[in-house]
């Protein structure tokens, strides 16, 4: 520490002797702190001989400021025998590790050209209607509904995440559906830690679909990057209200509109289908219109976007091939999800010339403050260590949260973090509510293999989706998705396998 002081007081004559050998390592106050670990051994070595040097320097610096002698004694490096004195503070381990696994970050971008989110372009998107990879074997039955309120789930986002080393997963997409009711999400917290035998009712579901390159739905060659293509075959009819789920029920009155469930039929009726239905019926000279019953229809292979007469009074909706239209106005705004890598500004020492603007501003402010502090130190107006040593740092939870914020401040607009490597760990915002690796993360229900972390959603997504801030609106700290490590296809009855999601509120 003698070197530390001699840097701060450049006017004082330099003490000769053993201190000079170590000083070249501490030529700069900033660099000294960075070289801490590498030179800790030097510091320790110097400590044994430091007693004489420190005393020498304190004598020399006496002419500068009187109050410094005490401070010097406070700061000198204590030899190992003196450990246990008040200067040695044993603290909790701070999580400052920089994990090397590179994380892909997802950012939302407005959809520039509508065809880019059609399903034959294999998009990653947020909001709107899902672009189903396998357009025929959609999830059905109980999978479609929220386990708690029995309403159909709403599409949140999909991520196109192919695996390059598995030929049967040449195309692979993960879909996240969530019930927009916050009360269901809070109930879901109790269910997510249940074992499958206890039949947990979830309000969030993740589906995975994968196809080999040679498949019956899309061509072998990549699509034209100009949006002129259409998918090779048509998909199954979708619900006209949500545009997400299979429309296997139809309005008994007009027989043209399809729904996935009674709830959506009722909402569509209220939103204007009653008027339209009457028109259709008048045209067909049929009887009295009523919301009536829904009938199950065998899935007719009709492209959902083309023939639906509702588009007449919603002319602004897209009508392109491969994109589903929805009459609902409650769907979340549509964005495209672009991927970028997380860039670690602070780890790049040799690239310090160009860190991010927030970090730069912070660093310059820190330098300013440090200069002022050094000035005051010289003038002797400093607080001694004993005044402040009782002031503890904030609680563990708050520190954890602040370190989470520091990590996402590298890219404040990120909404998704993707990392599929074996040792990938999600970035948890909160300390409590984390799953225990062994018990809480369910193994794959299809192949029995273990599940591994793949991606997580961050709360910035709620800001971009313009979710309202009422007590009943959605709010989460993070949603982590664990997927089958082997990305299995065996045992999957329809084209979509269910994966496990863990929500931290």
């Amino acid at each position: 520490m003698a070197h530390f002081l001699s840097r701060l007081f450049p006017h004082s004559p330099t003490p000769a002797g053993g201190g000079g050998g170590g000083r070249q390592l501490f030529s700069d106050f900033w660099k000294m702190s960075r070289n801490n670990d590498s030179s800790s051994s030097n510091v320790a070595a110097a400590s044994s001989s430091s007693a004489g040097i420190v005393k020498g320097s304190s004598v020399l610096e006496d002419e500068g400021a009187g109050g410094l002698v005490q401070d010097v004694a406070d700061l000198r490096v204590k030899s190992p025998e003196e450990v246990g004195g008040q200067d040695i503070v044993v603290e909790e381990e701070e999580e400052e590790e920089e994990d090397d696994t590179l994380v892909g970050l997802g950012f939302v971008q407005p959809v520039e050209q509508a065809w880019k989110v059609s399903r034959h372009h294999f998009p990653s998107k947020v909001g709107g209607t899902p672009a189903w990879l396998d357009p025929i074997n959609l999830p059905y039955g109980k999978q479609v509904l929220c386990g708690i309120c029995d309403n159909p789930l709403q599409f949140l986002l999909q991520v196109y995440a192919p695996l390059e080393d598995q030929p049967e997963a040449f195309h692979r997409t993960l879909y996240v559906f969530i019930c927009p009711n916050m009360a269901c999400l809070q109930q879901d917290q109790h269910h997510q830690c249940k074992q499958p035998a206890e039949k947990p009712c979830r309000s969030i579901r993740v589906f995975r679909s994968q196809l080999p390159r040679n498949n019956s739905f899309y061509s072998y060659s990549p699509p034209n990057p100009d949006g002129q293509d259409s998918p090779s075959c048509d998909g199954v009819a979708l619900c006209t209200w949500c545009g997400s789920w299979k429309g296997h029920k139809a309005c008994a009155a007009c027989k043209q509109t399809r729904y996935c469930s009674r709830n959506h039929q009722i909402e569509h009726w209220r939103a204007g289908h009653s008027g339209f239905c009457r028109q259709v019926q008048a045209a067909k000279s049929a009887g009295h219109p009523e919301p009536g019953s829904t009938k199950d229809v065998e899935s007719v292979k009709v492209e959902a976007g083309e023939l639906m007469p509702e588009d007449l009074h919603e002319p602004h909706k897209k009508n392109l091939p491969g994109i589903a239209c929805a009459a609902s106005d409650k769907l979340w705004p549509e964005f495209e999800l672009v991927v970028d890598e997380e860039y670690n500004y602070e780890a790049e020492d040799n690239d310090r010339s160009n860190p991010g603007p927030q970090i730069e501003a912070g660093q310059s402010r820190a330098k300013q403050l440090l200069d002022e502090y050094e000035r005051r130190r010289k003038a002797g107006e400093e607080f001694s260590a004993s005044d402040l040593q009782e002031v503890q740092e904030a609680s563990q939870e708050q520190q954890h949260w602040v370190s989470f914020q520091a990590r996402i401040s590298r890219a404040p607009e990120q909404v998704l973090r993707y990392c599929r490597s074996q040792d990938a760990k999600p970035l948890w915002p909160l300390l409590e509510g984390q799953p225990k690796k062994s018990t809480d993360i369910q193994p794959c229900s299809h192949c029995g293999g273990p599940r591994n972390f793949e991606l997580q959603l961050l709360p910035q997504l709620l800001y971009f989706l313009r979710v309202k801030n009422e007590p009943s609106s959605l709010d989460w700290a993070t949603i982590t998705v664990f997927s089958c490590t082997a990305s299995c296809t065996s045992g999957v009855s329809n084209g979509y396998a269910e994966e496990f999601a863990w929500v931290q509120l």
Partner: protein, 282 residues
């Protein structure tokens, strides 16, 4: 669209987008560092300054639904994002490093030294916060301590010693705070007395905007360091003390989270602002 160009890299994928999956880490190496900057980050650089809120309170603040920091204090909502404090107090918030203390941990390879930075922030007008952060580098510690200080900003109520002329300059009444075994008592002082206190709480009180105060402390001298925590407790209590001008019955108002449900449903006068603004009036 930057990411479509990335498709060419994935060998056999041809023109298919490479999506989020990645097979090998080697594929990343061929993009030079400069290229990585220019790819997507370059044009977006200025947008990285923008704050994207992470908590519900942050979203409310960003939308402008909350008019002042006092509204948040009124309902004791935890402030988890320091940008909220910056949003309201902005440039008025001054910060200062109180001390940088090297702390050492004994390891097998010698000592591991880290730096503990103490930063106090305040706008000298009723808000003050104290932050502590320990880190391997001084700059990181200072930055972290500034953030912790902003998160811990508390409102401070000021009053008069005698005649109610001019601006409030001292604590409104005798308040006492306790932390550990140390009790700190703040006593109103006449104008011109200055802050009569030990060095650390004196700094905190200066940043809070209190001009004159007498202090008295009691407790074990060994834990003199609890002084600053006790001072904080004291300052927190200034708003908890019922004085005659607060005898008027409080109309309970809705917290910001619940308030705006009604606000959106039908036009409503936001009644909470009336109470908050009236409180420190003399």
């Amino acid at each position: 669209m930057a990411d479509r160009g990335g498709g060419e890299r994935g060998g056999d994928r041809g023109g298919f987008g490479r999506g989020f999956g990645r097979g090998d880490r080697g594929g990343r190496g061929d993009r030079g560092r400069g290229d990585r900057r220019g790819g997507r980050r370059g044009p977006k650089r200025e947008e990285e300054e923008k704050w994207v809120p992470v908590t519900k309170l942050g979203r409310l603040v960003k939308d402008g639904k909350i008019k002042s920091l006092e509204q948040i204090y009124l309902f004791s909502l935890p402030i988890k994002e320091h940008q909220i404090v910056e949003f309201f107090l902005g440039s008025a918030l001054k910060d200062e490093v109180m001390k940088i203390m090297p702390v050492q941990k004994q390891t097998r390879a010698g000592q591991r030294t880290r730096f503990k930075a103490f930063v106090v922030v305040g706008d000298s007008n009723g808000h003050v916060g104290l932050g502590v952060k320990c880190s391997k580098e001084v700059a990181t510690a200072i930055r972290g301590a500034i953030i912790m200080a902003k998160l811990s900003v508390i409102p401070v109520r000021r009053g008069y010693w005698g005649n109610k002329i001019g601006k409030p300059h001292t604590v409104p009444c005798k308040v006492t705070g306790k932390c550990g075994s140390v009790t700190v008592r703040l006593v109103p002082a006449p104008r011109g007395s200055g802050i009569v206190a030990a060095r650390v709480p004196k700094k905190v009180l200066q940043f809070a905007g209190i001009e004159d105060v007498f202090t008295s402390s009691r407790g074990s001298t060994k834990t003199l360091g609890n002084f600053v925590k006790a001072t904080f407790e004291c300052l927190l209590k200034t708003y908890g003390f019922l004085t005659p001008d607060l005898w008027r019955e409080t109309r309970f108002t809705r917290s910001p989270f619940q308030e705006f449900t009604d606000f959106l449903a039908k036009p409503h006068k936001i009644s909470v602002l009336e109470d908050v603004e009236k409180t420190p009036v003399y």
